[in-house]
Symmetry: C3
Subunit: 342 residues, 3 copies
């Protein structure tokens, strides 16, 4: 694939600063560019590299102000990061695999759409429906009555349990478990526990991504729901009966306990823990490693274990870091007061 | 399946308040009930829903005192949660799958009990023993000399390594790894590490549940042991040579380092980390996200990183939250003392 | 296998204290020794057991000073732990499995070395290269153009995605995912996200160990690199474009966000979270459960969330633990100052 800088700028609706006829045949990180490659600069941490960058062109934000000379042609756009994402999509497009491996076990009652790919050692049970253009890689198990809509991509080692529903354009990364039993036990006599049957399912709406080795538990009754456009990173645990709102993004190793509802457009950091039966509003931000024990209103930003308002938390933490100085001030006061009293 | 309210109350040894002849054909969450369904109320957070609940009957605790009129018939029991669990078990019972898929590889020396189900793409090695009525789903690998007793349920994608022993009535959720190598390395020259062979095994006693994608490491020598009735949630790591006591419950994403012994009837929250070579007593509670660096005595409740007594921790944390006010008080004192000295 | 104590001491270049002709036919933990077994003592926590130890011999450090009589013969060495590791290696050596299961799917273009073992239900795609003596267990998927060098060991349920490279003598424990997509999304209109294609790969250099169910994400462009000799425990997440230095050891459930580089010979505790785009130096230590938001220089030791110097952290934390006493001192001062003012 090869484009001129002019073609790329037109495609991105960007403005060119420098030569526009150079041919671009690959993409590169700004610190690893070569002639013929296109790079981007979005995170200010990497600004230093643009002055020595060997790429033929660099996509930058409209308001980028160089402080030295730059050899590369600049393509100025509204959002350098998403423009580069578009180029990356263009350059990385591959012909999707087609066909169904003979080394599979597909129940005769399963309904398989058009242009579906099914890899080796995939087991598809009774009553499963798979939509057009969906791709299912190797060593995947799809239990009874699962529905997967169109254009979804299921990587190797994924397990999708009974009755779960996967929307259109979903991506399930390798090893993800959809519909494992929720963690529900009722105490009985002598400290023993009775398992609460988990009879509900998991629903992923459209455009959901579930990370590698993440686990989304089925509901006890009803559904655990991941709303349209939500992005769930690797090694995340979503408990039974949770609901994750539309376009909410959750970073790696976070856990959400049962029956908690999270609103839309939230940004939740990595290794966060959220207790059960809570309600987290829309547009909420939660700092990495926080522990949430209370409901959070729309637009709030929480931090800490247990969490509270992030700005207030940072203030308290600054005092904590300097606790030795504060303790010294108290000792000093005690000495002075003692002197005064004498 | 259909029962009268009278039949259900008799089964649960509960008292009926309201009509007792209505037919129940399904269960529902209290906020989603319909005519003909049975719900329950145990967590006070959900009390509000009982006054508008459309279920025909609701299981409640004996001491529940309504504050408004309730349309549904009440069934009063000693423990609403476990009574509902019994009903859920009754309603969700399915005929277990039977038979052995032809798309498996079972070593001729393996001993397979009666009424065992083995799904597609399961590999069972030399010397394996599987007890009666055990169910093994798809894409599972069972290594050499593993023993699985009766009535156990192994979900898709589980891997059970050499010499491990699984008891009766155990449930291994999808993707769980039983018997991976412990993390043991001896430093040698130049910063390099020598792998310590992990030659022991894992023993799960009876009625143990291991969550999805959890990893239970084999012992270096001897056994990592999960005692009878212990419940281990998803994405949990149990290190080599650990011992988890009977009926101890551990919530998601917790990690226990090597050689730590945990007593019986403990309740350990999610995302807890426990250092190695520790001894945690019986009936211990550990708050979610705590980091344990010390032994804990029977019946204690720990919190914090590193953890200490939870009540003391909560007190310190309350001061921490109001650190700015405390700092102001110190500044104010300094001003006053300065004034006094002049 | 059977050795005299003399043979073992010669092999370890150790000094014998006690009888040297006794035959050793097995190894045992110091608290579980029997006649004919060899044990070791390295961690002082276990010193108590040596005085009642029933093993025929115990490997101890050169500087070990017994405080009571010991029945067992002592073998004094420079490093008891690594000496025992050598013995364990000797005693646990097994004949590696050989041969290729017929229940696999291996693309005709794949290049398979000598003495390779490939287990049941393994799928090996186009363009894959596997070096001599490498062992691949069951239910593994190896995507297109993956290279695995010699003497590596891939456990059941591992998935290795397109274009990834595995070095010599690597060990991938069960369920590990190598090369899953990095978590990269660009915000577009209405709160939606555009997936950033992840077109790079993962490179594991030689002697790397990746724990069970850990996930190593591929780079957006370029490579995520785990350098020679690094040891990564279970349930760890390494983000896209990270670099983990040589002989760095990372304990379970730690997460490293995208584009962070970690130096060599670091020791990183369990459940640590490291933010993205950071640079962690060489020989750095990070306490378990820390959250790293800043670059760390060589040889530093960090602790806390967000982290800072560990010694300083411990001091602050000690004050935190006694916050009630500090608050009392402030109240007392306030009373005294009030009295003085009157």
């Amino acid at each position: 694939m090869e484009f001129t800088i002019k073609q790329i700028a037109d495609f991105l609706q960007g403005d060119i600063e420098g030569g526009d006829s150079i041919k671009i045949n690959n993409l590169a990180k700004i610190e690893q560019g070569e002639t013929g490659t296109l790079s981007f600069l979005a995170n200010p941490k990497y600004t230093q590299y643009i002055y020595t960058c060997k790429s033929s062109a660099v996509i930058v934000n409209k308001d980028f102000k160089p402080e030295q000379e730059i050899a590369a042609t600049l393509i100025r756009v509204d959002d350098a990061y998403s423009s580069f994402a578009k180029m990356l999509t263009l350059f990385s497009e591959q012909k999707p695999p087609k066909g169904i491996s003979r080394k599979t076990k597909i129940h005769r009652s399963a309904k398989i759409g058009k242009n579906v790919f099914i890899g080796d050692f995939v087991s598809i049970a009774e009553g499963v429906t798979i939509g057009d253009n969906t791709i299912i890689h190797q060593n995947v198990t799809i239990y009874k009555n699962v529905t997967i809509k169109s254009e979804s991509l299921i990587y190797a080692g994924v397990q999708i349990m009974e009755n779960c529903e996967i929307g259109n354009n979903c991506i399930l990364l390798a090893g993800a478990i959809i519909g494992s039993d929720g963690f529900g036990f009722a105490p009985v006599k002598d400290g023993e526990y009775l398992k609460i049957p988990q009879t509900g399912n998991v629903i992923l709406e459209d455009n959901v991504e579930i990370g590698a080795n993440s686990t989304i538990d089925r509901a006890t009754m009803g559904s655990t729901i991941i709303r349209s456009g939500a992005k769930i990173d690797n090694l995340i645990q979503i408990g039974h009966n949770c609901e994750i709102g539309s376009n909410t993004v959750i970073a790696g190793q976070t856990g959400v306990s049962g029956s908690t509802r999270i609103g839309k457009n939230c940004m939740i950091g990595g290794q966060v823990g959220i207790a059960g039966h809570l309600h987290i509003g829309d547009n909420v931000m939660i700092a990495a490693k926080s522990g949430i024990m209370v409901d959070i209103q729309d637009n709030e930003f929480h931090m800490g274990v247990p969490s509270f308002d992030a700005r207030k938390y940072k203030k308290s933490y600054l005092y904590f870091k300097n606790f030795d100085k504060i303790a010294k001030r108290i000792s000093e006061l005690e000495k002075q007061v003692k002197d005064l009293k004498q």
